[in-house]
């Protein structure tokens, strides 16, 4: 999927491992790498999180500022999500405006937060039609060792859950915690022939043709999905991925995002 030029030999090796039911790093197919979540590493941000997913590292910062609402939703706050694939994070990233991979990443993270209703947008209205809180979610990828979608989504919701609305700074009363109503968790799998592999690393991502991200909410509903990569996927595999995704998401939610 990425532009990594990977030796055909390595590709064969990964495929053969999968046929034997194994992965290069010894994980089982639906096993995640170790997740380490730190909230609040950046004090200047209104909310922040550093996620380590194996060697993948993503920093998410949330800034909340007053601004104008959209004209069709005059009494609702605004969410703006951006992702930076900075060149320090991978030999494949280049400086410049976000490419389609970065845009897709930002939009999928945004979809999880938005569609799950995680943020109570109506509670972010200051003066209807004039002033609302604008929540900027900025995903800063520090080390791309695969599965940026899950790491970034986890970072985003963790940063939001610990974010404070900086009301005092703008003379709008006392600071208060950002009202968070749901906890979306993204889970991503890639397809290797008949096998489904969760939490792919960069090698696995570059070999697989199809990747599917499923975002689930606390009640086990699905609130976002994205297939990416130039491949096919069968209906059966989609259902299987959704099933396992719900379980993994539940575990991640219970372990890291308990309110």
């Amino acid at each position: 999927m990425s532009d990594v030029v990977m030796a055909e030999i390595r590709k064969d090796y990964l495929y053969h491992l999968v046929l034997k039911g194994e992965r290069a790093d010894g994980r089982s197919f639906d096993e995640y790498r170790e997740i380490i979540l730190e909230t609040g590493p950046v004090r200047k941000a209104d909310g922040s999180a550093l996620v380590k997913l194996g060697n993948t590292q993503v920093m998410v910062g949330v800034k909340i500022q007053p601004g104008e609402p959209f004209s069709d939703t005059p009494n609702k706050g605004v969410i703006i999500t951006n992702a930076e694939l900075v060149p320090l994070a991978s030999p494949n990233f280049e400086p410049g405006p976000p490419n389609e991979v970065g845009i897709e990443l930002a939009r999928v993270v945004d979809r999880g937060v938005r569609e799950s209703g995680a943020i109570d947008l109506e509670a972010l209205c200051i003066t209807p039609g004039e002033k609302v809180w604008i929540v900027f979610i900025d995903v800063h990828v520090l080390d791309d060792c695969g599965n940026l979608m899950d790491a970034s989504s986890l970072g985003a919701i963790a940063a939001l859950m610990t974010a404070k609305v900086p009301a005092a700074q703008y003379g709008l009363g006392e600071d208060y915690p950002l009202p968070v109503k749901d906890v979306p968790v993204a889970t991503t799998a890639v397809e290797f022939g008949d096998a489904i592999i969760f939490d792919p690393d960069t090698d696995e991502e570059s070999v697989a043709d199809t990747k599917l991200t499923v975002i689930t909410t606390a009640d086990g509903s699905v609130c976002g999905m994205q297939k990416s990569g130039p491949g096919f996927i069968s209906q059966d595999h989609i259902y299987r991925i959704v099933d396992i995704a719900c379980e993994r998401a539940k575990e991640i939610r219970e372990k890291f995002l308990e309110v």
């Binding site: 069709d72 939703t73 976000p98 389609e100 991979v101 845009i103 897709e104 930002a106 939009r107 979809r111 938005r114 569609e115 799950s116 209703g117 043709d209 599917l212 909410t217 086990g220 509903s221 699905v222 609130c223 976002g224 999905m225 994205q226 297939k227 990416s228 990569g229 130039p230 491949g231 096919f232 996927i233 069968s234 209906q235 989609i238 259902y239 959704v242 099933d243 719900c246």
Partner: protein, 256 residues
Amino acid sequence: MIGMDEKLSFFKNGLRLDGRRPDELRPIKIEVGVLARADGSCYMEMGDNKVIAAVYGPREVHPRHLQEATRAIVRYRYNMASFSVEERKRPGPDRRSNEVSKVSREALEPVILTSYFPKSVVDVFVEVLQADAGTRTAGINAASVALADAGIPMKSLISSCAAGKVDGEIVLDPMKLEDNFGEADVPIAMTPNGDITLLQMDGRLTQEEFRRALELARTGCQQIYEIQRKVLVDRYGHVEEEEICEEPSAVAEEEI
């Protein structure tokens, strides 16, 4: 403009606001070979969506560093006309159209036999002239027919449509009003034998509802496939003899 808070009923006597049943597609119109300069082209209407797709290539890749030694690359540009939506859209690519372009390209790439044309590019351009929810699916449908029209070798056609949830019910091919106030939207694309090449979802569905939505969207794709196929057979099924020399492999085949 109807406010979000106002309770709006999306069904009357079991039918939708435009008179469709929940499992019914909007009317579809497909015309093939509508542009003279393009190697392949297609105009498509899905309800109030009007899109036009053009295919150029296989041709030389510019810039050259993008070329691949063993296969053709595929580029897909989805673009909305500024006048295609209610409020004027700022012209040019934005983040949404970038994402739509990416997933649409990835929806078509699996069936294009790119290894036949190393070091070249197949360019697909989709212009949305009028938008009414489901433009990406309309674009993919049109692009798929345009690729066949251009004679690009493919394993099969790709058909695409969405299912959604409005008023608690799963419906096929939501129109703008249903999409705006609906609870979920699941666009898919697939080959005639059911392999899925595009899957997105936003909104909120239980797992069971998602399965129903996917199943319903599949039936929509199957119907669209029949129309796409018919259009191509009508156009190329009985070619005149002199045309055969000019345009060789222009017939789309469904078998992989």
